[in-house]
Amino acid sequence: MSESIRTIKETNMENVFECEYIDGTVRLCTKNFAPGYSVYGERLIKYNGTEYREWNAFRSKLAGAIMKGLKENPVKKNTKVLYLGAASGTTPSHISDIVEKDGKVYGVEFSARVVRELILVAQRRPNLFPILADARFPQSYMPLVEDADVLYVDIAQPDQTDIAIYNARTFLKSDGYLLLAIKARSIDVTKDPSEIFKAEAQKLEKSDFDVKQVINLDPYDKDHAMVLARFKG
């Protein structure tokens, strides 16, 4: 398949790549940390002896945020990430690609159903720790994790922002980053999404966060936004 690739080059974000196909389409991709294995049916691309995985912006909100102009990606090589709402491991697998061997991804997920799939993904990735636990009760996974440079929260809960703040206060290093995926429809279906984004961002500002950017993820995810904030606590 590599014949259809024109170039792969690193973007201005560390370890995030852009792949240009012969026909001119451009897609994000990451270096595959588990070569030979595809996680959710994404394309594997060989280029100059390295294997890359296409990063589908419709499947992963972080990729969507990058496509929609995320100014700065706090997920870099060697960062430690606490990931709440790891689900079946789509986005965590790409984060695991980016942070590489010396970074760590602690993937917390509450639904036993999808943890089964998460475990399969983590099996090939020694830097991805699957933890079946409820993000509302950090004390249950406290003994298994360490303080994180980045807290990534993607949980569809009405009180997701409060859960994120609580976890940040327990696990986020000061000056660490929060990436919060807000699903407007699971907070309040009756309100206008942009109002909800504003209200949640304000909540963060009041709780020692410096909100850097709020990105509407449309068309990759309707009624979703990604918030990038810095923790001053």
């Binding site: 760590k104 602690y106 036993a112 159903r113 943890v115 089964r116 475990i119 399969l120 983590a122 020694p126 830097n127 720790f129 699957p130 933890i131 079946l132 636990a133 009760f137 950090p138 004390q139 249950s140 406290m142 003994p143 298994l144 994790v145 360490e146 303080d147 206060r169 327990t170 696990f171 290093k173």
Partner: protein, 418 residues
């Protein structure tokens, strides 16, 4: 006055002073199984033994902890503050503390350990989550059996009842659901039309015969009240069919989650029935293949054990298409192969949750093919067999049991006489 900031981590318990200086520590055992148990107890507010030991060693006047649930379990005055000074320092440089306390000699070793620990912890929790849900699947499949019984019962009644009005329909339709649908949709036999029948998916040929029969029916005329009552029954039957279909979908999804390997071998329905007969996934996983092979044929099995006659070749797994569609002399062999694979599948489902269903199914199919080619012809009849069989049955024992039965009967009769 000394305050101890306590940090409990999988590697051990560490105590800091208010300036964030490490005072002392006690390591946890480096045994993944044991630590997973400690972690699970920890969630319910049970402090690590290492923490208690640390407190004993340091004897602080007050401690600061992160987990509120632990407060009552500690003998010392305690306050709660998540991410206190000690916790921050510890968890920000976890690797440093692990190396300094000699828990691990390299960073790699530490993270490999924590990785395995997270895995085992998650697997254990997954298992207990699945174990609860297997009971749900079992109840669902039992409910489905009950519903099937009710459907049959009600359908028989409906056929008898409606036959007073339209007796010919009974013979024309085998399927209970279609029968009930016709009664519900049309009511009087005269309202049945060809178009209407086609719109509820009855094939042209049958539809014509029904309409024809309706026009010449010898059934009695009945009142609107009568029809309404009959329709109430047929509506009930139809709603039972709806419930049955929903249950079947539900069982499928739960079984895929709870016992993916068993399900991939025999499908969700038969899989759930096996769980139901065994009692739970755990019970099934503890059974030898030979028991799984005859689950559901207990009556035949114990009769065979008592009398020494031939044991059954298959229990509920007879429902497996490859068994009941195979010629008689191959069935036992296929049943044995299937039961062996099922035993493996149940154990993997219960103890690891790994998915190996595709491999198992493939191996099983290979074996079935082998049986089909190797034993294509029925075995030759052995005339000596009947005699042999007679020998196997130990006569005295048989007589004994007969006598026992007789004496029981006599006892009973005696009692009655008294």
């Amino acid at each position: 006055m000394m305050k101890l900031y306590l940090v409990e981590h999988a590697i051990g318990s560490f105590g800091f002073d208010e300036n964030g200086k490490l005072i002392d520590y006690v390591l946890n055992p480096k045994d993944i199984g044991r630590v997973v148990e400690l972690l699970l107890q920890h969630e319910n507010g049970e402090p690590f033994p290492s923490a208690l030991e640390l407190i004993n060693k340091v004897k602080p006047e007050e401690i600061v902890i992160e987990n509120e649930a632990e407060i009552q379990k500690l003998q010392v005055k305690a306050t709660v503050k998540p991410h206190h000074e000690g916790a921050k320092i510890f968890r920000q440089s976890l690797a440093k503390f692990a190396l300094e306390s000699k828990f691990a000699s390299t960073e790699d070793e530490l993270y490999t350990y924590l990785y395995q620990l997270a895995f085992e912890y998650t697997r254990r929790k997954l298992r207990s989550a699945a174990q609860k849900r297997d009971l749900l699947a079992i109840q669902a499949v039992r409910a489905m059996d009950d519903i099937d019984k009710s459907i049959n019962l009600f359908s028989e009644r409906l056929r008898e009842w409606y036959s007073l009005h339209f007796p010919e329909l009974d013979k024309l339709l085998e399927d209970h659901e279609t029968y009930a649908k016709i009664v519900s949709t049309f009511g009087y036999r005269d309202s049945i039309t060809l178009e209407g029948l086609k719109s509820i998916n009855i094939d042209e040929h049958t539809a014509k015969r029904i309409v024809d029969a309706a026009s010449k029916s010898i059934g009695a005329d009945i009142s609107e009240d009568d029809i309404n009552s009959i329709q109430q029954l047929s509506n009930t039957i139809l709603s039972l069919f709806t419930i049955r279909n929903n249950l079947s979908d539900y069982i499928e999804s739960v079984m895929k989650e709870v016992a993916p390997n068993v399900t991939s071998l025999v499908g969700s329905n038969l899989g759930a029935r096996l769980l139901s007969l065994a009692g739970s996934l755990e019970e099934l996983s503890k059974m030898p293949a030979s028991t799984i092979q005859v689950l559901g044929a207990e009556k035949a099995l114990f009769r065979a054990l008592r009398s020494g006659s031939r044991p059954p070749k298959h229990g509920i797994i007879f429902q497996f298409p490859a068994i009941h569609s195979a010629p008689r002399w191959q069935r036992g062999k296929i049943a044995r192969a299937l039961a062996a694979k099922l035993a493996i599948a149940a154990r993997v489902d219960n103890y690891s949750g790994r998915y190996i269903g595709d491999q198992l199914a493939e191996q099983l199919n290979k074996r079935i093919e082998e049986i089909k080619t190797k034993y294509e012809q029925p075995p030759p009849r052995k005339p000596a067999q009947s005699e042999k069989l007679g020998e196997r049955r130990s006569r005295p024992e048989k007589r004994k049991s007969k006598e026992r039965y007789k004496s029981k009967k006599n006892n009973r009769n005696e009692k009655r006489r008294r």
